[in-house]
């Protein structure tokens, strides 16, 4: 394999419309094998598991294409890369053979601490060099291209000099990595940073986009929180229409991590994407949405904690 895996990006499959793999749906997926094109699994939920999650992903990967999506790579951190973590990720990938492996353009902690949040990076030339060097290391180690997602951000650093699309464009040119474009994150970040989402998409490096994320968010009036706990907002669907067209049909995944609905309801929300697969991809007007000042948690992670109580039995004498 060439060093950066650039050529490999073009050969990645177009999987269609997929869902996030959530533990409360395991049994139904394994027993009924519903007609869902593919699943995205959170890598950290499975890489250390010697129990039911590992069994479930093995069983599901036998029947469906699977993609691994991580939250702990911390590609932007100034801490050294965590090679034991990468080793486990690689082992999981060898086992379930995902179509690709992705994570986020962010950092999660330094000095050995993990905030378990997807924290923003200052968009500077210094950060770009730092991240690019680490992307090379990760791609060399995993022996596959790394796919990076644009995160939701709630602040900008005073020292930032690049826009996020420009940063990602240079990163792609330097490393050949792939991109996961989260159109909900585009909407959230642009609102929170006073940017125009259409201008963001106009300057995005589309050639390396292999996946699109959709998700719900909460509008709090002064800011938007990326909550992943509700249906996709109309404005985000309009961005999807454009993104789907410009990416030439990149695989699409609907994220839902809080208040997770039944598999049928989840799938029905995903299938709305078919209404936005116009060939010309011209978005309708992106309307303002109503808001609720009560703030929910951003990017919930409690779904990463297994529900252990339901899997316990007390055998009395």
């Amino acid at each position: 394999m060439e060093r950066n895996g650039t050529g490999a990006i073009a050969s990645l499959p177009k999987l269609g419309l997929g869902l996030g793999l959530r533990s409360l749906h395991f049994d139904q997926i394994i027993e009924q094998q519903p007609a869902i094109a593919w699943f995205e699994a959170i890598s950290e939920n499975f890489m250390d598991s010697g129990g039911r999650p590992r069994w479930a992903i093995r069983a599901i990967a036998e029947h469906y294409p699977v993609v691994l999506h991580g939250v702990s790579l911390s590609i932007g951190s100034t801490d050294p890369l965590n090679f034991p973590y990468l080793g486990k990720l690689k082992a999981l990938a060898e086992e379930v053979k995902p179509a690709w492996v992705s994570d986020h353009l962010c950092w999660t902690g330094v000095q050995g601490i993990n905030s378990h949040d997807l924290l923003p990076i200052p968009l500077t030339e210094e950060t770009l060099s730092h991240v690019a060097a680490r992307v090379h290391q990760v791609q060399d180690f995993l022996e596959r291209p790394l796919i990076l997602e644009n995160p939701s951000t709630y602040l900008t650093f005073t020292q930032s000099t690049l826009t996020e699309p420009e940063f990602l464009r240079q990163l792609v040119e330097e490393t050949g990595c792939g991109l996961l474009l989260d159109v909900n994150n585009v909407y959230v970040t642009c609102f929170n940073t006073d940017a125009d989402p259409l201008a963001y998409l106009d300057s995005f490096p589309w050639s390396n986009v292999i996946q699109i994320h959709l998700a719900g968010h909460q509008h709090c009036g002064t800011h938007i929180i990326d909550t992943h706990d509700r249906a996709v907002e109309p404005a985000v669907w309009e961005l999807y229409r454009l993104a789907r067209s410009r990416s030439q049909g990149a695989s699409t995944l609907l994220e839902w991590d809080g208040n997770i609905p039944s598999l049928a309801e989840y799938h029905a929300e995903l299938l709305k994407a078919k209404q936005y697969m116009d060939e010309n991809g011209k978005p309708m007007a992106i309307a303002e949405v109503s808001f609720n000042n009560k703030e929910s948690v951003s990017t919930p992670v409690d779904f990463l904690v297994p529900e252990v109580m339901g899997n316990t039995i007390w055998e009395q004498k």
């Binding site: 010697g50 905030s115 005073t158 020292q159 009036g221 951003s298 990017t299 316990t312």
Partner: protein, 272 residues
């Protein structure tokens, strides 16, 4: 980049400290690092991350210790968990480790830790025991197990019996397993009285089963978990419990006894 800008390392270190302990970040520092938007000033923008850091991790802690949260009430549990996370921020890439040090933290920060054990508050002992039990259940959920492979059966000779890999022992001062399962049933159990409660945990078909033990059974299983054979473990149990070896053997081997029940419950696999 401005000449006064901190390095990437400096910025990340500063922001992380501001999340873990919001009081550490002054308004001047925040304004130097974070730009205002048209709707929020620098501090308000940083505060979104500061709020979410605590809300997110406290929710994970409540989900890892549901019975302890029930026992303490959400507000008091959150207070303990918030102090815990400030003292021991997560150092793992996986949230599964978030509560790993919580039982020890509760023990080491108890206000009566200088007292002798007979003068200590029993409700704190109960909280520590319950936290240990819940942590053990959490570990068992994802530990390597024996699912998909054959367990030992009634015809397996004693000399070949070996504890299955997903097995744990606990010796608690309170009936924490009873309390936990009462909470699981959506009951509101009272704090239980002091009552020694040895238990065994095994996982079968990805379900973790808790078994109450007698003191002799606990010693016997402890010996087996150290790698002793059945016959040797019986000798250890008889000696430590000051019971005739034949009596311990009978309670192990006779029809309908411990051996039969534990084999049916998948305590054992066939070893080399």
């Amino acid at each position: 980049m401005k000449e006064t800008s901190p390095s990437l390392q400096g910025l990340q270190s500063w922001m992380q400290n501001a999340l873990i302990d919001p009081q550490q970040a002054s308004r001047e520092q925040i304004e130097g690092m974070v730009a205002s938007s048209s709707r929020l000033n620098s501090s308000q923008r940083l505060a979104i991350y500061q709020r979410n850091y605590h809300i997110r991790l406290l929710k994970c802690m409540r989900e890892q210790f549901p019975a302890l949260c029930h026992a303490l009430g959400a507000d008091l549990f959150n207070d303990f968990a918030r102090q815990y996370l400030q003292t021991y921020p997560s150092i793992s890439y996986t949230l599964s480790d978030l509560g790993k040090r919580f039982p020890a933290y509760l023990e080491e920060t108890r206000p009566d830790r200088q007292e002798t054990s007979d003068k200590r508050e029993s409700w704190i002992d109960f909280m520590v025991d319950l936290a240990q039990f819940e942590r053990q259940l959490f570990v068992m959920f994802d530990a390597p197990g024996h699912e998909g492979k054959p367990f030992a059966n009634l015809h397996s000779p004693d000399s070949c019996l070996k504890l299955q890999p997903c097995f744990a022992l606990g010796d608690y001062r309170f009936p924490v397993a009873w309390y936990y399962h009462e909470v699981k049933q959506n009951n509101d159990p009272p704090f239980p009285p002091l009552q020694r409660s040895p238990i065994a945990l095994i996982r079968k078909n990805y379900l973790t089963h808790t078994f109450s033990l007698t003191g002799v059974q606990y010693i016997f299983l402890q010996a087996l978990s150290r790698g002793l054979k059945i016959e040797e473990a019986i000798a250890v149990a008889a000696r430590e419990a000051a019971q005739p070896r034949e009596q311990v053997y009978r309670s192990w081997a006779q029809a309908g006894s411990t051996r039969e029940r534990w084999l049916e419950a998948c305590f054992f696999i066939v070893g080399d």
